[in-house]
């Protein structure tokens, strides 16, 4: 891959809404990405492996639980700073962002919000420093968009629980030390349970053959009569709302992240259009290419405004799940469209790994599906505005 020349684009002077600390957080993440990740990301993607040596650096730039309070090893930053970090990571690769947002929003968040003080002290500092990596098991082979139908379950066996079932499509599973698993108790109520690598009957086979998110490891979680200590149950919340609140946090991060992928595609395409000459002029001088680029920056700018406002609402604890759905759906779709258009601006070069666009495009196919598919988020908005549930 070529030298990473990325520059942010801020058409509506949104930077003026950021604090100095936000900008410092952004510069830090960007500088780290350019130095440590950009030179190797194409290779990692091709190999289909998350580069595990990056974990320490990801922790140092605040990639793990930036909004978790400092007493638990987090950085105590606000939601906008969290979004900014996700954006800088996904600007490089959606898989890199996935590793970080799963750890932050799907593992640390539920332990922080629904765990006991003992669980927080035990897990959060190690997750924040990257000493431990976590994963989040909700999806099952037969229950994707409909997690309420899950069959993974646990039974009370006196001084411990016995967990059975299987989860699929789990990011970070192959190398996670800790899994936050959602399973039903004997009454059919969903609870979160912390399962640790090494517990007997717990395995995490890697899933192969992805054409998307290749630089993030995905696996299964198999529970075959796993004995889990009772102290590993998250007592603070049960029911489907518990995992969904974690998804709210992660989806919010994805809304920011997708803008990063879009910005990278736009940035590359804009520069290419100014340099590539055909018919004796830069291709950026042709109206057809300008239309594509002008529409890209328009959509990016709209997404930036939407997402910043959502960040303010999250900071105030007022963002609704439906508002988050709208931003996740809009921004990921915006990014995937931009990736497709940007790829065409680069002509044949656009399909090579000299440029990041095709990789972003492939990655975004996962991002538009996980954490609620494009369709599911539309149904959430539909239900929110009409009051009718069109899911079932």
């Amino acid at each position: 891959m070529r030298t990473d020349l990325y520059q942010g684009h801020d058409y509506y002077l949104m930077d003026e809404l950021l604090t100095e600390e936000h900008k410092l957080v952004r510069d830090t993440a960007r500088a780290w990405v350019k130095k440590e990740v950009s030179p190797l990301i194409e290779g990692a993607w091709e190999k289909g492996e998350f580069p595990r040596h990056l974990i320490k650096g990801l922790a140092e730039i605040g990639g793990f639980g930036p909004y978790i309070p400092a007493e638990y090893g987090g950085a105590g930053l606000d939601q906008i700073a969290y979004g900014i970090i996700m954006q800088e990571l996904e600007r490089c690769d959606s898989g890199l962002r996935s590793t970080s947002s799963v750890q932050s929003s799907l593992v640390m968040y539920p332990i922080w919000k629904y765990g006991t003080e003992e669980q927080r002290q035990k897990y959060l500092p190690k997750l924040a420093s990257g000493e431990w990596i976590g994963c989040f098991g909700l999806t099952e082979p037969d229950h994707g968009s409909n997690p309420a139908g899950m069959t993974t379950n646990f039974k009370d066996a006196g001084d411990h629980y016995v967990l059975n079932g299987a989860k699929m499509w789990i990011s970070n599973a192959p190398f996670a030390q800790v899994a936050v698993v959602w399973a039903k108790n004997e009454e059919g109520r969903i609870h979160g349970i912390i399962v640790e690598r090494g517990m007997e009957g717990f395995t995490t086979p890697t899933m192969h053959g992805k054409w998307s998110l290749r630089a993030s490891d995905t696996g299964e979680l198999i529970f075959d009569n796993v004995k889990v200590p009772k102290g590993n149950l998250l007592p603070g919340r049960s029911g489907l709302g518990a995992p969904l609140s974690c998804l709210d946090s992660a989806r919010y991060g994805i809304a920011w992240g997708a803008i990063g992928a879009a910005l990278d595609c736009y940035d590359v395409a804009l520069r290419y259009s100014q340099e590539r000459q055909q018919f004796n002029k830069p291709i950026g001088a042709f109206q057809l290419q300008q239309k594509k680029l002008a529409e890209m920056i328009t959509e990016i700018t709209k997404a930036q405004l939407l997402t910043y406002r959502l960040g303010q609402l999250r900071n105030e604890g007022r963002a609704t799940s439906a508002q988050i759905s709208m931003a996740k759906r809009n921004n990921v779709n915006m990014a995937i469209q931009i990736a497709r258009e940007a790829r065409q601006i680069l002509g044949g070069m656009g399909i090579t790994n000299e440029y990041p666009i095709m990789r972003h495009m492939c990655n975004l196919e996962s991002v538009i599906t996980y954490e609620g598919t494009h369709d599911v988020h539309l149904l959430i908005t539909g239900m929110d505005i009409t009051g009718f549930d069109a899911f079932k």
Partner: protein, 246 residues
């Protein structure tokens, strides 16, 4: 070891350069400012390495308005202990040097470190002037700095090679590429920077010695002529007859 690191802000290298007010003012609109790389990557990072190895204190000093504070916070996030901003509009080099010298004169710094130049004005004279005003030894263009038992050993770039010098007692240096490697701040540093002291002191009385008349952009790049690799003779002829350089 008490070290003072002087940092300046400079426009990011990707900035579009334009002027306003009849070409007498740099147009800061939309310009991203960074810590001048020679000050940050080389002077500051080496100062921190020395402090980490031997103990001591690294103070940041900037001469400039409140718009300097983001870059000062960054320097604190990278690891400096405290910072001072002399609240003065930076004008010519001598004025800036007088501010620095006036502040530093009774503070007992062992080393005063600057970058070899700013990437916007490229004056390269402030550290030399500071040394002169404080009557201290000056080692320009240093690429290596070690301190052992109160003796500093420096390597500096000279025409066609390197010169090794030793200094005892306080001194001023300007840092060139090679003295250290860029450090990216980490989240711990950013959090710590929130509460590190940043003292603002009023400008010292000093005269500017020059007056800025105007700025001009360099002439636009001319068109590029391609010559077939097989036709080296054409190249010689064009250089001789058209460009008249040989």
């Amino acid at each position: 070891m008490k070290i003072l690191v002087c940092i300046s802000k400079a426009p990011d290298t990707t900035s579009k350069i334009a002027f306003t007010e009849g070409n007498t003012k740099f147009d800061e609109n939309g310009v991203q400012f960074i810590v001048n790389p020679y000050d940050e990557w080389y002077a500051l990072v080496r100062a921190l390495e020395i402090k980490e190895a031997q103990g001591g204190n690294v103070t940041i000093l900037s001469v400039g308005g409140a718009d300097y504070e983001p870059i000062i916070r960054k320097a604190l996030a990278i690891g400096a202990d405290d910072a001072v901003r002399i609240d003065a509009q930076e004008s010519d080099s001598l004025y800036v040097a007088k501010q620095i010298a006036e502040y530093a004169k009774d503070k007992g710094f062992d080393i005063i470190m600057c970058g070899k130049e700013t990437i916007n004005y490229n004056g390269s004279v402030v550290p030399g002037m500071v040394a002169e005003l404080l009557d201290l030894p000056y080692i320009p263009l240093a690429v290596k700095l070690d301190v052992n038992a109160g003796v500093a050993t420096l390597e500096r770039e000279v025409n066609g090679g390197l010169e090794v010098v030793e200094v005892t007692g306080s001194f001023v240096l300007s840092a060139a590429k090679g003295m250290a490697e860029q450090r990216i701040p980490n989240m711990r540093g950013i959090m710590a920077a929130r509460t590190k002291p940043l003292q603002v002191v009023p400008a010292f009385a000093a005269e500017t010695s020059t007056k800025l008349v105007s700025y001009d952009l360099p002439p636009a790049k001319g068109a590029c002529k391609y010559i077939d690799a097989e036709q080296a003779g054409d190249l010689i002829r064009i250089l001789h007859e058209e460009a008249k350089v040989i």
